[in-house]
Symmetry: C2
Subunit: 348 residues, 2 copies
DNA sequence: ATGAAAGCGCTAACAT
DNA sequence: ATGTTAGCGCTTTCAT
């Protein structure tokens, strides 16, 4: 017995049928007799027939494969988004090819080309931090391959995209701190050329304003939000505004740094200083106290993005108008901000 | 101008050449004149010709795609392994398709079938926790598709695999604790039916033995190693062996739980109790004190596994004998175990 | 140095 | 209900 893989024509030959009949039988075509179908299926099982998807893809002009480009796959956020993408894509019978741009615009462009050459049916794309020139995206449009952006998106009404409402996340977190009785709320902000950081800051500012609180520049510190930036930022804030009673951070890493400084100074969390961050990182439940944070609904973002993409693929990119979906964030209240007894720990 | 994608025959028609000549020119065949090559390349550039890899793959019987099956993609470990895999695979001109089994044996089998149907040239596989029946792997062998296992492997000399030396990791961590002056070293162990947990425990036991220390059952606690297991395990250990002066944990999550209990009891780390864990999780540098841990060389594992797979693909699976690569772990010493002044913080 | 022709395995008109 | 035929875009023998 050879190691030869059974093909449709093998089945056809053994059954004295034409390849087309076998092909139809395999796909349960309505005008093939039940008897024939049974014979075909039985032999296919026996010979362990597996369709050659490459050939089918070539013929049909459709690979049943989706391409994904993310800045990186390590780190909680994109890993979860990808998980969401895979779940839905597989359910719909699509394979997924994942590429990492490593935050590099050139690599991102190469990734896209790779995916196009692999004849993917659609692309899910989250831009690298260094991508400023979007010209190369023309290549995708020229090929009529649908694209859906997620999280890091081209800000345009002409593209399909799904993003989180970062503004709302900041707004809710700060409102929560105010509800807990905080009145001097500081902010650790990120690079303001990034829309997510800008929006979170805007949410912070508006929450203060709507509650009749002033925006005090000495309560705001911008940085790159690494852990050491959080430490340094907190030192600065405590020096120039020792009366502060809460911190809202644009990410959780900087918040951990801030927390270290606060503890070191002998201040109590949340009684003296309440803390809230952004991203609901895994470690938020490992610190003491556990950190309140805005959840970004990563998996949902992934699921939504694929659903939009599948729609574009099935309807044809010209028929469906581009739209922008905005997901609502989910504030997870933990010990670091809860001054009352009720501890609301939702999900993870 | 149509949205039609240029194909080889388009180029051939426009240049009054045959498709075969154009095909050869594009692949820089030696017996095509430089003049012709230049004409072909020029027009290809103009028309933005992109080869249809599907067609080439069908013809060549080679898809230039590798399949990867991991238990899950979130979580530091596999994300980093995948990163390593992608790096090398892309360098070698291979695409990568990633599937998640979600620790489910049935899903894992489906993933493998999906990859085989997608005509991948090789498969990288890390087994799910629930995989006990390896019969389905026969399907891969029947197709002569090379496979390399990593981390969670089939323990057999007949398969190619790359794993970490978990025994050595446990051994080194415990030797380090002994060097720091600890003599009553406790162990938080994982499920002993998992070879990684068993090996780490063996490393612990042998390190004690080789240093003339007794193995005291009241210093050992087995669990599933979630954070709450770590807390509970530590309570138990401290109750039944209050004299303990160090803990080696089979993973870092349980160690965090243990740390919380130790702090709560007012014991100092590392002066009263020194701590060492396993996996070098991201949060190890966020806790106070920072946690000593055994790094698993995730990216290197990924890189090594692809290299082995590419070798199998290029040489043919029958020509290269299966081999098992064992990577040496890397102990990262941080504050939680360092009783002297020298703080050795290597890499991240 | 170039061309003609076959074929990878499949699907889908277009017959009958 | 089944068969015939063409072709997806490419590579590769075999000619010349």
């Amino acid at each position: 017995m050879s190691t030869h893989r059974a093909s449709i024509s093998d089945l056809a030959a053994q059954l004295n049928l034409s390849v087309s009949t076998v092909s139809r039988a395999l796909s349960d075509h309505s005008r093939i007799s039940d008897a024939t179908k049974k014979r075909v299926w039985e032999l296919a099982r026996q010979l362990n027939y597996q369709p050659n998807q490459l050939a089918a893809a070539l013929r049909k002009g459709r690979s049943n494969t989706l391409g994904v480009v993310v800045p990186h796959i390590d780190g909680q956020f994109f890993a979860l988004v990808v998980k969401g993408i895979e779940t839905i894509a597989n359910q719909a019978g699509f394979n997924v090819m994942i590429c990492q741009s490593n935050e590099d615009a050139a690599q991102e462009q190469k990734n896209v080309e790779t995916l196009l050459n692999a004849q993917v049916d659609g692309i899910l794309l989250s831009l690298s931090l260094s991508t400023h020139d979007f010209g190369y995206l023309e290549a995708i449009r020229r090929r009529d391959i649908p694209v859906v952006f997620f999280d890091r998106v081209v800000e345009s009404k002409d593209v399909s995209a799904v993003v989180l409402n970062d503004y709302q996340g900041g707004y809710e977190a700060v409102c929560h701190l105010i509800e807990q009785g905080c009145r001097q709320i500081a902010h650790l902000g990120g690079p303001q050329h990034l829309n997510i950081c800008r929006n979170r800051y805007q949410g912070y500012a508006d929450a203060l304003r709507h509650n009749g609180l002033p925006i005090d520049p000495s309560l705001v510190n911008f940085s790159d939000l690494r852990i050491q930036d959080g430490r340094q930022g907190m030192e600065t804030l405590l020096n120039q505004a020792p009366q502060l009673d809460a911190v809202f951070s644009c990410n959780d890493l900087a918040l951990v740094g801030a927390m270290q400084i606060i503890k070191r100074r002998g201040l109590r969390i949340p009684q003296d200083v309440a803390l809230a961050g952004f991203s609901n990182e895994l470690f938020d439940s490992l610190t003491e106290p556990m950190l309140t944070s805005v959840d970004q609904r990563c998996e949902e973002m992934g699921r939504t993005a694929v659903q939009m993409l599948l729609e574009l693929i099935n309807e044809g990119p010209t028929k469906v108008a581009p739209r922008q979906v905005v997901l609502q964030p989910n504030l997870l209240i933990r010990e670091s901000s809860l001054r009352t007894d009720l501890l609301q720990e939702t999900k993870a």
